[in-house]
Subunit: 325 residues, 2 copies
């Protein structure tokens, strides 16, 4: 028996809130401890339509189910009046491979688990008393990352910039559920200058943040770079920061911000870095002083998908949601 | 709107018959002509339970949809009384990534498209007047490959051998829908000696067929090797045969029989080989004489999945099958 969960069912089970933080933290801890099997991402590009489908999968030892996730981005869709993101998750029985559930979330769970990862990055790496957030980008993740940040830090002002000023303005107008002052900036540099925590949420293919703009105590979460060609930070930043933390080192060496620094020989491929899960497990591996500059490089991992798919499925069972097929 | 097709719906649309041959031939032709985007297979192993999930995907240029397929094999399942194979296919809109259909086929469509690929291999590579088939293995593909073979050649006798003689006997007893004499052999060598076409359908990790057993005019389709460690043919066979044809050269260099011959330096990695799709497009690339020894190496391709998922979905629409969600 397979339970098909539709988007509405899923939204009844999962909201962006603090309950998800330990769920995703556990996933990162398992990843860092090597208690997972997480193969390289499968990516299918459909260049003609400016589209791509990514497939991620991860098995976490000891858990009775694992997820395989399809996430698509078709960047001409907004012109057609439909969202660019789409996708679903499949939950399988770890012992038999039987399909327990098809979660037709249209990308919602990916959006949420990505935002929660951003919150976790700032929770463990930014200065505790940070109140000023900077958001680069004005898409769905820009909104969700800011919202998630308020779960872990007392943000009172957010500084926003994106390349499209109309979109930025609209973005600011649409945020009305957060008790945060919003200030549109005229440049990414201005955002950097004013913020203590910066989250980059763009699909940029060339750096938006220059290394010259770094300042003491800054934390940056770069979450846009989930493909080889994507790049939000000047690669020099990886060398100049005090602490670089990837979500998954095996992924950031080929997809993330680190990958560009390696390619340009700015950092050595012999360097090793503790992953976000290591920092969660041992706070001594995190920020050492108030002045440290810390970077978290998020590419999105299959363990997050497995964690949120399991969480959603269990709640749906309790609420008796979904269609049995 | 997504249409969920259950196993019973799918079986109402698709049977193993000659109508599928041009559908899968077209897929191979597109692959050979470079009209496809087919990323490397994602494989997740769950060693604890002797299980694996493979994900395949392919976009065929010009088609309005593409499939992503999950196929799982959990080899302890028979002890639990459930089939080892499972899976589903997802059909997505090529222009938008919107999920058109979830095909909960439990691996049925994979079984069928794999058998049809075997038929196509023999159709283009074996001697036209072959009547004697050899089947190595006694699982579901052993049965389906034999059945598929009867679609393209007038098989009157099939010689069967598998490592498990009880299973072989049961296999022969259960085949009652084919007008073919079945003869259980005492060794793989006996099968080779008696057959004109041999299909290997096992998950063997060491060669079952020795190069010494090759004989003039023989055609072998090796379809069991779909993972690095799997290997059905003595790698010398790849060198000694007159014609080696892979389904997808990019896959057989890392997964198929060819991969073992490359690893042992029996054939040079500089060699190139026409794919099955090339042979379908140009019969001059196939068998040159009645005495040629031909080998087809099938690893299973995403283009076959896209082809059969589209075919099934279109028939289901006509028959108004499935649940709209």
């Amino acid at each position: 028996m397979t339970i098909v969960l539709q988007s509405e069912d899923i939204k009844k089970c999962v909201e962006l809130n603090e309950q998800l933080i330990p769920v995703i933290e556990d996933a990162f801890k398992n990843l860092a401890q090597g208690k997972t099997t997480m193969p390289p991402i499968l990516r299918l590009d459909i260049e003609k339509y400016h589209g791509e489908s990514d497939v991620k999968a991860a098995y976490i030892e000891g858990l009775d189910s694992y997820a395989i996730k399809i996430a698509s981005g078709f960047f001409n869709n907004p012109k057609l009046g439909i969202p660019s993101s789409n996708g679903l998750m499949i939950l399988l029985d770890s012992q038999t491979g039987v399909i327990k559930s098809v979660l037709l979330d249209k990308g919602y769970l990916t959006d949420v688990r990505t935002a929660i990862a951003g919150a976790i990055a700032s929770k463990y790496l930014s200065n505790y008393d940070s109140t000023k957030a900077g958001i680069i980008g004005a898409g769905i993740q820009a909104k969700l990352q800011l919202e998630a940040l308020t779960l872990v830090r007392k943000i009172n002002t957010a500084y926003i910039w994106s390349r499209d000023s109309t979109k930025t303005k609209k973005f600011v107008e649409e945020i009305n559920n957060l008790n945060v002052n919003l200030e549109v900036c005229s440049s990414a540099e201005e955002v950097l200058r004013k913020s203590e925590i910066v989250v980059t949420t763009t699909p940029s293919k060339s750096p938006l943040i220059k290394s010259d703009w770094l300042k003491k105590g800054l934390h940056i979460t770069a979450m846009g770079s989930d493909a080889e060609q994507k790049n939000e930070l000047d690669p020099l930043i990886i060398k100049q920061c005090d602490l670089y933390v990837p979500d998954s080192l095996s992924q950031t060496t080929i997809l993330g911000e680190l990958h560009h620094a390696l390619e340009k020989n700015i950092v050595s491929s012999d360097n090793t870095y503790d992953e976000l899960g290591n920092v969660i497990l041992d706070s001594n591996l995190g920020r050492k002083s108030k002045d440290d500059i810390t970077i978290c490089d998020l590419t999105g991992t299959g363990v997050q998908d497995t964690a949120i798919a399991r969480y959603t499925f269990n709640l749906a069972l309790k609420k008796k949601l979904g269609i049995e097929v």
